[in-house]
């Protein structure tokens, strides 16, 4: 019978042992950084560096000539110019309200579509594929299409409205209809995408929760609000954040459909920035617009990250 000296007597009395990181771990960590560095270099060069540069330009009396940029000293005049500019105020308000309305509408309609699809017995795959097509369409094409639909003389929207008795408005030539037209084009393109995300989230929900709810006596609407919505929240939340933040860069649609017009009624922040830099060649103020837009996006991002800390995956 072999016995090893028992546990109680074996308390190690000599020098206390110190935990060191594994040699292999260190090697793996170094390898990891090696693998990551190409990506970091590319991203750093093309995103971080220009962002910083943009901020620098926004704070200087920049003049651009054929040979390059000359930054003539530090100034906050670009920002004061921008903040006093009424078009910028409009663009800011327009972008925010536009984002809010389109996102809410997309969410509501998208969820409704998803609920319908969830109950679909046949052809769900086909439906999902169909829904992906507007998402994959080039926004420019979408803009041209709706431009044709809204065309004042021969657009099909015109024909429909006349047939219904609402007259023949010049949609793209009048501010409010133009804005609404823009929103409709955006909503048409993006709602299917939202529907798919919601549907995929719904499909992943555990079935037994619903059965338990049924046994407990819940039904329809009540089940939806008390069970489905809370369970869907993580999926919706992150998708929502991405969508909203991305909407601040609204450019393609108004550029092609309305060119920011009529007048400046559909000028988003990005359009304003672009016009300032490339049409008016005012690099300083343009950079200020661009930087403030980016700052807004960053702010939104950090706020929502804090709010949804739980959903953002941490490994350990």
């Amino acid at each position: 019978m072999t016995t090893i000296s028992s546990a109680a007597e074996q308390a190690p009395a000599s020098a206390p042992l110190v935990g060191r990181p594994d040699v292999n771990r260190k090697r793996m960590a170094r390898l990891g950084w090696t693998f990551t560095s190409p990506a970091l270099i590319i991203i750093g060069l093309v995103t971080i560096f220009p962002i910083v540069y943009s901020v620098v330009i926004s704070f200087s009396n920049a003049a651009v000539s054929g040979n390059g940029v000359s930054l003539n000293g530090f100034t906050t005049s670009n920002y004061s110019l921008v903040f006093k500019n009424s078009t910028w105020h409009y663009a800011l308000g327009f972008t925010i309200i536009y984002t809010a309305i389109t996102v809410i509408v997309e969410l509501v309609i998208g969820t409704m579509i998803a609920l319908v699809l969830q109950r679909l017995t046949a052809g769900r795959g086909f439906m999902m594929a169909l829904l992906l097509i507007p998402w994959s369409m080039i926004t420019v094409i979408n803009a041209e299409l709706w431009g044709y639909i809204y065309q004042g003389t021969y657009g099909v929207a015109d024909a429909i409205l006349t047939a219904v008795g609402l007259g023949s408005p010049d949609i793209l030539g009048t501010p409010t209809p133009a804005i609404i037209g823009l929103m409709i084009a955006d909503i048409w393109k993006t709602t299917p995408f939202v529907a798919i995300i919601v549907l995929a989230g719904l499909v992943m929900l555990p079935g037994d929760v619903y059965e338990a709810a049924e046994v407990d006596g819940s039904s329809g609407w009540s089940t939806f609000w008390r069970i489905t919505v809370p369970l869907l929240r993580p999926t919706l939340a992150l998708a929502l954040i991405f969508r909203v933040l991305q909407a601040f860069g609204l450019f393609d649609l108004p550029y092609v459909l309305t060119n920011g017009g009529p007048g400046t009624s559909t000028t988003s922040l990005a359009i304003l920035g672009y016009d300032a830099i490339f049409k008016n060649l005012s690099y300083g103020p343009g950079a200020a617009v661009a930087t403030t837009t980016a700052a807004l996006v960053l702010l939104g991002c950090l706020l929502s990250l804090r709010a949804f800390r739980v959903q953002v995956g941490k490994e350990n």
Partner: protein, 385 residues
């Protein structure tokens, strides 16, 4: 052919957690050594140190007599079977098994031959061209073993390979694993938390608790002569009944709760040390199988308990009873549920299936004194000499 020698091996993690403490253990050639213990006891860490997947903080590890502390897993010539098999899902069974050989640049023909041979040993011949996704749990487990044995390693390591199988399959595979191990006759270190697996499969069993080796012995020795309260409670199912008790002045009687059990003289032949415990408190241990129903006329000490529950297994009755003595339940020896609900005085006895037992009534059990275990109340150590 090789042996494994762990000499005062320690593992301390970066955050200060001391997972394995001065572990000294040897595995002989061809021996099936089982490392068993509750979760977190350090058994997997120890196994991974032998494999080379974890650094050794201090102490020496020798494989085949050579110190291998700083060698990579590949250099150590070990093979390992993981709990969830870790089969390469995109390769066929044949490719899975042959992968290590391919890495060693063995000629294709040789690889094919070895894979075929291994397939035959494991009964996988008709599955060689399938992918793991098409196999059942038991078959996947065999592929994992095949991948390990095809290399004819010096040491065979297994980390709870049967835990993912359902109960019936597990029993079947236990025999399979043993059969294969005997056939390849390689020193094997097998980790499990299931003490039944340990007892049925091991040539020797090492019990670990909180990183410290409690005892390493043949299964029967662990069962008959547990060194301390933990090992006594851990080994055996249903678990040993452990109570606080007091020895009489002359140590020839033991008082458990309100009952006094006289102890026969031959008990002290094997346990002379017990005589020093006159009037002292001890932990008394009696296995359920050593508490048959008392028959009139049969001599020997008896224990009376209140019957709470009877489980009829067909081959025997498992009687749950209570006595009025405090029960001793070392942490980690039972399942989490058992630890949590261990109430004072509970006990279990295994009696003949035809015994008349009634729930709620008092029942008398004959105590098989040869199997009695005594432990020092302070040190938890078994009392023998």
């Amino acid at each position: 052919m090789a042996t494994v020698d762990m000499d005062k091996v320690n593992k301390v993690y970066e955050n200060g957690f001391h997972a394995v403490k001065d572990l000294s253990l040897d595995v002989r050639e061809g021996e099936f050594m089982v490392l068993v213990g509750p979760s977190g006891c350090g058994k997997t860490t120890a196994l991974r140190m032998v494999a080379g997947l974890e650094d050794i903080t201090s102490g020496e590890l020798r494989i085949g007599g050579k110190v291998v502390n700083d060698e990579t897993p590949k250099e150590r010539d070990i093979a390992m079977v993981f709990q969830n098999y870790a089969l390469y899902p995109h390769m066929t069974v044949a490719e899975n098994i042959g992968f290590a050989l391919k890495l060693r640049k063995m000629p294709k023909a040789d690889i094919a031959a070895k894979v075929k041979e291994t397939g035959e040993i494991l009964g996988l011949t008709e599955w060689l061209d399938r992918k793991p996704g098409q196999l059942s749990g038991g078959q996947r487990q065999r592929v994992a073993m095949g991948r390990a044995i095809v290399r004819s390693p010096s040491v065979f390591l297994m980390d709870e390979p049967l835990s993912n199988l359902d109960a019936k399959l597990r029993v079947q595979m236990r025999a399979e694993v043993q059969r294969i191990q005997r056939r390849i006759n390689v020193a094997t270190l097998y980790v499990t938390h299931d003490q039944i697996e340990a007892m049925t499969m091991g040539d020797r069993v090492a019990v670990l608790r909180s990183g410290v080796l409690q005892q390493v012995d043949h299964p029967q020795t662990l069962y008959d002569h547990p060194n301390n309260v933990f090992v006594a409670a851990f080994i055996g199912s249903p678990a040993m009944n452990l109570y606080e008790a007091t020895m009489s002045d002359d140590a020839h009687k033991v008082k458990v709760g309100s009952q006094t059990l006289p102890l026969p003289d031959d008990l002290f032949a094997a346990r002379p040390g017990l005589l020093r415990y006159g009037d002292k408190k001890v932990v008394l241990g009696v296995r359920p199988e050593h508490l048959p129903a008392a028959h009139d006329g049969v001599p020997g000490p008896t224990l009376v308990g209140n019957v709470d529950l009877v489980e009829a297994l067909g081959s025997e009755l498992v009687v749950h009873f209570t006595i009025d003595a405090p029960r001793v339940q070392p942490e980690g020896a039972g399942t989490d549920d058992e630890d949590a609900t261990a109430k004072a005085g509970e006990g279990v006895a295994r009696v003949a299936p035809d015994t008349k037992v009634k729930v709620g009534e008092r029942m008398t059990f004959a105590v098989n004194t040869e199997g009695m275990q005594f432990f020092d109340m302070e040190t938890d150590q078994a009392i023998w000499d």
